[in-house]
Amino acid sequence: MKRIRFDLSLLFVFGFCMSFSTVCSDLVISKLDRRIDLTSQLVRTTVSLKVENNGVDSVSEILLPFPEHQARNLAFLSAMISEGKDKTKSSSGSLPIEATNPKGKPPSLTWYSVSLPKELSKGGSLTLEVKAVFTHVLRPFPEKISQADVQLVAFQDSAHYLSPYTVKVQSLTIKLPEPRVESYTKLENTKFSGTEIKYGPYENLPPFSYTPIVVHYVGNKPFAVAQELVREIEISHWGNVQITENYNLVHAGAEITGEFSRLDYQARPHVRGASAFRNLVAKLPPRAHSIYYRDEIGNISTSNVWSDSAKTLLEIEPRYPMFGGWRTSFTIGYGLPLKDFVFQSEGKRFLNISFGCPMSDVVIENLIVKIVLPEGSKEISVSVPFPVKQSQETKFSHLDMVGRPVIVLEKKNVVPEHNQYIQVYYRFCNLSLLWEPLMLIFGFFLFFVACIVYMHADFTISKSSPSYVAKLQWDEVQTAIQQFQNIMNRCLVVHDKLEASLRELSRNGNVQACKAARKAADSLLKELSKELKPILSFLQSSPQAVQIMPKVEELVSKERELQEKLMLKHSTVVDSYEKKSGGRDIENRVAAVQQKITLLRQEVDEILEVIDEI
């Protein structure tokens, strides 16, 4: 079997470091416990250091060195002071960490310094807990496997903690995903039990001790790496936060060689395709709605959603099982209620949303988060708990005039530990919400105006053609008839008013009011007949109104008759009231007239309808 080559450069670093061991400060690590978790494609190391100050001066920072190959792949680093014993951790938030380049230290290492909240005075001690996550440190070995093979992974590190300080007692525990190991470096005090390999305890090691170890083990966990993930978060103040995520996914484990048999895979997926992954689970916020999962071709139907009050789980299955080296790209999108993520504080609004990808076992090589704020947002500021590249652009979306401001955050090597909340602060006036409906309204109004213009404009080319002239004349006739109808209708309204005044009279016997109504009606009718005259004469003179003229004239005469009868009835009734005749007496006197009126009214209405239809 092939041997795994040690990284020669590591040995060089080790030797190089030894020569610098004298420059270290008076800090001593009295107890160090290191745990490396290899159960996923990430390497998660947790180091708890008990630091003592044996020197004279107070110390305010602790140095953490990383060898070059690790520093390159360091995705996440945090340090906190843990107080209390063992499991009862009462951590006080993570401490500020910054990259430094201390003088007199080997430059082949990458240095980070942890600033302590208060200086460590002489003789004092504290327990520091350092968490680091590395991506792409695990190397599949062999690099190509067939469908039936298990995936073997090699991991290199040092059995001794690389530190500029003397370490009194230290131990290392490596946790594996399965209790199957191909080989591992055996040093003194090495123990392998279950899924754990233990190195140590080692005592009184000088600074920069470095003893390379290699663990070659079975790691069938999916190596799902998103080479690029673009998350677009679009805020709409009409009640929605829309999230769209574009994944460009690859299985970064051992590449598959030879042929792929779907039949074998279906029959025994755990043996014939142990390193492949079939599905991914995204943990979305609660009350996510309108969830979709698609790619360039269209909808991908193999997905499932479960939701409860705390979360929404979305299980997506790519179109094919993902074997080593295979790629896929897809898009998921969902809407979230606005009130869960956007808040108002001191006149400013802010979006509070998690930064990373909702899938817990995906590593993202290049994450781009675009936050699309509503049009008209001002004074935008972003607060992110870790360094990111930030830029701003404009996006045009539905019903936009000047475009929406977009905050673009870019970060490389994103791991689930980066799923922390970020805040985007901005100012937005609620009245700006009305821009969109106003634009729609304006659009519709323009349409109506266009219709009006079209109806008013005259597009005839030849203004002297006989058909055009005829049309003009017909238009005039139509206008006259409409005016005529209008006057007739007004006459009828006056008639109705007179009738109403009579009814009023029979109720309260107020003769004066009735007379006044009569007077008003008289003058109105007179005016109307005056208005009618020119229209009638025009209609008589117009040749195109010949057909309709008889009806018009009939209507005029009927109306006049109706008017006379009505006046007669009115004066009779009023007279009778003045003479204080009995109710029955009046009715008898008017009966004949009334009959006539009803008849005439019916006829008038009929003729009006006939004219209306022409």
Partner: protein, 78 residues
């Protein structure tokens, strides 16, 4: 965070969008219909521009808000 932080919600509850869309579009279309009936039936001289414009304005207000709520209720959050 301070106590002054309060969540922001939409000016109109989300669940009203479909109803609002239906009613406002219905009213808008009725007014539009009356606009076109008026345009088609009244002769050129008798038409009053003010009446046409007001009918058009009322119709476009209802159609504008109606189509906005239609967009919102169908998931296009503008």
């Amino acid at each position: 965070m301070a106590q002054s932080v309060k969540p922001i919600s939409s000016p109109v509850p989300d669940s009203w969008y479909p109803t609002l869309a239906v009613f406002m579009l219905a009213i808008g279309l009725i007014v539009t219909a009356s606009f076109f009936i008026y345009e088609a039936t009244s002769s050129r001289k008798n038409r009053s521009l003010a009446k046409e414009l007001t009918t058009g304005a009322v119709a476009s207000v209802f159609l504008g808000f109606g189509s906005l709520f239609l967009l919102l209720s169908s998931g296009v959050y503008v």
